[in-house]
Symmetry: C2
């Protein structure tokens, strides 16, 4: 196998995880790291990761980095397709394949069809492939349920549940799901859009597209899970009556009937930890991953495991179901 | 979506199931049926299926059928790659894409590398794609465990278990797994090769190839599951001491260590009915389909659900992990 060379654009928690995992793959070579954070600029990436020096300095100037010879730009910066678009475009115009963990890039046609079509054209013109992926969106609540329909004669309805005990996760995750907030604060943050798993809309529409479901209505709900008694994690204590996490649903309807339902329930002390796919049709199929899949490890692994097939795929803006499937490799 | 046209080559139980299921897909059109069975020749395929006349007569002459305009030849005739090869070659030389339920075609390079390379060349020359698939091999015990490694940072070991209660299946299946035979007869049939799930060798080697496991030894075992008391199905009664089904394992080793283990346990009255994938590494992942996936419905569905991506894929002899993944469509 020929070594795959990549540059990491965005060196926050996800970008750092990707680089850390990449160091363990013999056939993967990091050529550059780009980030705008003044605290990181000019420092050796390995020093930031505590892995020992890598000889790769964190750079600010993407244009300079794009002059280097590499196969894939991994972009882990923003969640919004519109916001990440200029960076993706710049990479593509330098004939680099792109994998992004930008949640909306799972299926960007939903959010901005025109911009997505423009990106598809530029990617084709430059003969590179562009893909958005990660553990969720990208695998657990879209790709996996889609491929699990393969043995079905008929798929009528898809329900996917991700139940997580947030107390085992990092503090930023616990904050992200609103643990410790009053119900009022929680609701305010929901309105602001700061408590919300991004990507459900894209997941629902990707499932609908794959299975030829003609969704005519999409609805999302975000509610607090209220602590009925005090609950603690390593980092925070949530008093009775406060939010201990989030319950989010996304539903795709046709003629008022639910055809696709995604449910995320992440709170401190959740006794149910599993990823479940329920497929109704002929036959019904229920698949369960007990204990669930770790999201922190997950996204970085999905990105790395997607690389070999990405660079072999045909040019254009693709989604995870358009290219040969990812899997572990080394 | 443009209608996909296909011809069914081989009109036994699997071929009949495929055609029956295909009739329910609006964007799928059957153009011909080929079989050598004198009982079927000249009869309307729909009459044989009890679905009402289809206007398609079962024909013997493949050469004639290959002159018709269609996209895919579905070949459901034999289990051995060598035996099915001439038929596949003939279809490919007429520029037809091929999906075959021939078990050894999941990964024919294992059995006969030279013949597989020849087929790959002819397929590329004729700009068509050739693929072997089905529920098993093709999905449950190879494709699914392979793609479930996607969120893993490291995959060390793969164990896949298919546990089935054969009493719920058709009589031919119960016979195939040796239910009702004496232990002696069972062992004789194992030696003859008539009691044996075909495809394990291909599944193990496909998993190994995907995950970059360098298997240096392969071992298969086939043993009877002995009835410790009388057990019945709708069709047969198995006395105490007789075989009530089969326990088959396939193991891939490296330096004496088990890296891949597949286990099939199918017997009358099996209380455990599930399809399980256990992945060891970082993190460990265990996925369970309670009740298992129905094999009869499964193979026909997998074949049909593979069609749209097959015809869009690049030319050559491919395996299920080389092309964009199958899923339900209509």
């Amino acid at each position: 196998m020929k070594k795959i060379k990549f540059a990491q654009i965005g060196f926050g928690p996800i970008g750092q995880q990707i680089v850390k995992f990449a160091l363990e793959r013999q056939n993967l070579e990091l050529v550059a790291v780009v980030d705008l954070d003044k605290e990181k600029l000019g420092r050796d990436a390995g020093e930031i990761l505590n892995t020992g020096k890598l000889g790769i300095t964190v750079k600010e100037n993407l244009e300079e980095v794009l002059k280097l010879d590499f196969d894939i730009a991994v972009i882990s910066t923003l969640s919004s397709f519109k916001d990440v678009f200029p960076t993706v475009k710049q990479c593509v115009q330098s004939s680099k394949n792109v994998i992004s963990t930008c949640e909306e890039m799972l299926y960007p046609f939903v959010n901005d069809q025109q911009l997505a079509e423009e990106l598809d054209k530029i990617a084709k013109k430059n003969n590179v492939t562009v893909l958005g992926t990660g553990i969720n969106p990208g695998f657990l609540m879209d790709f996996l349920p889609i491929i699990l329909t393969t043995p079905q004669k008929r798929t009528d309805k898809v329900i996917v549940k991700r139940h997580q005990d947030a107390s085992k996760r990092r503090l930023p995750f616990q904050k992200k799901i609103g643990a410790g907030l009053s119900i009022e604060e929680f609701k305010r943050k929901v309105k602001e859009g700061t408590i919300r798993h991004v990507g459900f809309k894209e997941s629902v529409h990707l499932i609908a597209k794959a299975l030829s479901f003609e969704i005519d209505q999409y609805k999302e709900t975000v509610d607090p899970v209220v602590a009925d008694k005090e609950v603690k994690s390593e980092y925070i204590t949530v008093k009775k009556g406060m939010a201990k996490g989030v319950h989010q649903t996304a539903i795709g309807f046709k003629n008022g009937e639910e055809l696709i339902k995604l449910e995320l329930k992440a709170f401190l002390g959740n006794p149910s930890e599993e990823d479940t796919v329920e497929l109704y049709g002929e036959p019904d199929i229920t698949s369960t991953i007990k204990g669930g899949v770790n999201g922190d490890i997950g996204t970085a692994s999905v990105v790395i495991n997607t690389m070999p097939n990405l660079i072999k795929s045909e040019a254009g803006l693709k989604s995870v179901i358009d290219i040969p499937p990812a899997h572990f490799w080394r």
